[in-house]
Amino acid sequence: MNPIITAFAKGIKKSGIKPSRISVPSDIPFEPEIVNQLGIDFFHTIRGRAIAFGTGLKLGNPDLIVVPFIGDLMTIGGNHFVHSGRRNMDLLVICVNNFLYREINGKSAPIQKHENEQITTQKFSPYSTFEKPFNATHLANSCGAVYTARWTALHTDELADSIAEALNKRGFSMIEVLSPGPNYYTGIKKIESDLLKFYYENSVIKNGESPRNVTINSDEKIVVGKFTEKEQLTFIEQYNLQLGKVLGSKFTPHGGRNG
């Protein structure tokens, strides 16, 4: 099974949350049988829009724990990401970064350094890249995320711990997972193992590092770890507070774990 899904399953178990409360809107298809085994509700929606869809799920039923799994996070879904962070919408965004679609994090280091010609020249772009990569963690942090972390598909235990922690965290959380992209690499075993080896050799754990310093670039090691953890009022809490202030006893607050 995909190591990220395994970590997600472990994380749900550790967090103690009933799987039926968890809904996953996503812009990447999941293996339906896996969804069934996890016992969650799953929506495969339009590329990049999973956060917006998840906002509706959360506001429709504040009792739900909404976990958008996103591939196209930083390009087509960029605006939704920024504004959900600003609102502190109670979502746990899992950004699966496999460097395949360059804008997700720029066409970043692991690919450029990769020696396999087949991938770098044919499957990505023949002229390599010249655009700067996005530091998604730093962006999330500056938008007001209450929890940010980054792990690779090798750090399954740490990832599971992070997911368990973030599931119980109220507010906008983001976990970035660097993954070799199983859909794309299926059947090319060598590449899969090469990339995992690459992660093993090139990542370094630095918990509490400032998100400003965790840009992925070609000359330095990839920094992984838990970067941010803070407390802040969520969207629904702010909504209840503000309307309660103005309307007084006429207002009935929204329920759920935020009310």
Partner: protein
């Protein structure tokens, strides 16, 4: 009384936008996500001011794309939801209208039309989005669109839009225009028990046997609220009964064919047209939205002059009443179609008349829609036509 505070039964002086919100609340809508745009902004304002009284949720999203995305999400949690926008916003919503159709999500999209293209004039009425509402999203689909012509109809049609969307599990567009949205008129809100509410078609059976797209005899799959442990899987990809993606021709037919035919098989139930003095008519004015307000006036004036004119008002524009227009085309001399655009629904009228009647187009795109003279002169002109011209006759002053 608690129930009375939710439905404002009585006679009110409301604008179209306000009446729309009251209709939505009366039918049980408890969610609005939107992005402010003129001339639909009053719908959001009114909903916000009413939200706390009826325990509804309101959210202003970052754009219209996310507004409709959030709406579809909220509907799956068991709420009835609405979003309001104008032309530029409807353009942004198109991709999600396709998702709404594919996921068979009941929701209502209000489009208060203004003139375009592009930004156009935000406070000028138009009807330029009619074809976009029908064909705007990619791929093949059927949609239901209603067109109100007064604040009272904004109220009534909003209720009907929700009922149709629940009945047929599809997004429904309410194609209003700036004129209808801003004019203030008497609106009668009937008592709660007289308002017909179509209940959501819920699945009632064992949890592990639930198939989200298993169709009943009436073509409509049953819904559940998520979070209830149904292990729900749904996708915008072509899918089977279980909601699992299956990408081959058989499944495309299995999945998409009913999406089309669940509407086409029930057109007689969906289509709502209002005919006035059509039995002896030689000329029929086909109108919808604000121009239908002057259609009746033009009809009366023409009858004073001895011209037998009838009126056919489209309360639902999509699906189009093809059969009725074809039938009438064999009897009448001409159709006169006033629209606040450069010719959209007139194309449908021409298509359905199959060359059996003259079709005259009167554009109100640049003119005041209160002015009945243009319509009347077009009627006077077309009555003189001896033969049938097999093209749309455009009337110019």
């Amino acid at each position: 009384m608690k129930t009375n505070s939710k439905i404002l039964t009585g006679t009110h002086n409301l604008s179209g936008n306000e009446a729309c919100v009251e209709g939505a609340i009366a039918v049980g809508c408890r969610f609005l996500s939107g992005y402010p745009i003129q001339p639909a902004i009053k719908i959001m304002q009114r909903f916000l001011s009413r939200a706390y009284k009826v325990d509804a949720t309101y959210v202003q999203m970052e754009d219209e794309i996310s507004a409709l995305a959030a709406l579809i999400g909220a509907v799956w949690t068991g709420k009835k939801g609405i979003t309001a926008t104008s032309g530029p916003g409807l353009s942004l919503m198109m991709e999600h209208i396709g998702l709404g159709v594919m996921l068979e999500t009941p929701c209502v999209i209000v489009d208060v039309q203004r003139v375009g293209p592009s930004i156009g004039i935000p406070d000028h009425p138009g009807q330029g989005d009619m074809m976009q509402a029908r064909w705007g999203s990619h791929g093949d689909y059927e949609i239901i669109a209603l067109s109100p012509s007064s604040p009272q109809e904004m109220f009534d049609f909003t209720i009907r839009a929700f009922n149709l969307s629940e009945r047929y599990r599809t997004p429904v567009a309410l194609m209003a225009d700036e004129y209808v949205a801003h004019i203030k008129e008497k609106v009668i809100i009937s008592p709660e028990k007289e308002i017909k509410i179509e209940p959501r078609r819920y699945y009632k059976g064992p949890k592990d046997k639930y198939l989200p797209f298993k169709r009943d005899k009436d073509f409509i799959p049953r819904m559940v609220d998520i979070g209830d442990g149904y292990k729900f899987h749904v996708t915008g990809l072509t899918h089977d009964d279980r909601g699992y993606p299956v990408m081959n021709e058989e499944c495309q037919e299995y999945n998409v064919h009913p999406l089309i035919w669940k509407i086409r098989n029930y057109v007689d139930d969906i289509i709502d047209i209002k005919e006035t003095k059509i039995d002896d008519a030689e000329i029929v004015i086909v109108s919808y939205g604000a121009p239908s307000r002057i259609a009746i006036k033009a009809m009366k004036e023409a009858r004073k002059l001895g011209i037998k004119v009838g009126s056919l008002k489209l309360n639902t524009v999509w699906p189009f009443p093809e059969k009725r227009i074809t039938e009438l085309a064999r009897k009448v001399k001409a159709f006169v179609v006033p629209e606040m655009n450069y010719g959209q629904i007139v194309l449908e009228v021409e298509r359905c008349s199959y060359g059996n009647a003259n079709v005259v187009f009167v554009s109100y795109a640049e003119k005041n829609v209160d002015n009945v003279d243009d319509l009347l002169s077009a009627i006077k002109q077309v009555i003189k036509e001896k033969e049938i011209k097999k093209e749309i006759i455009e009337y110019h002053t």
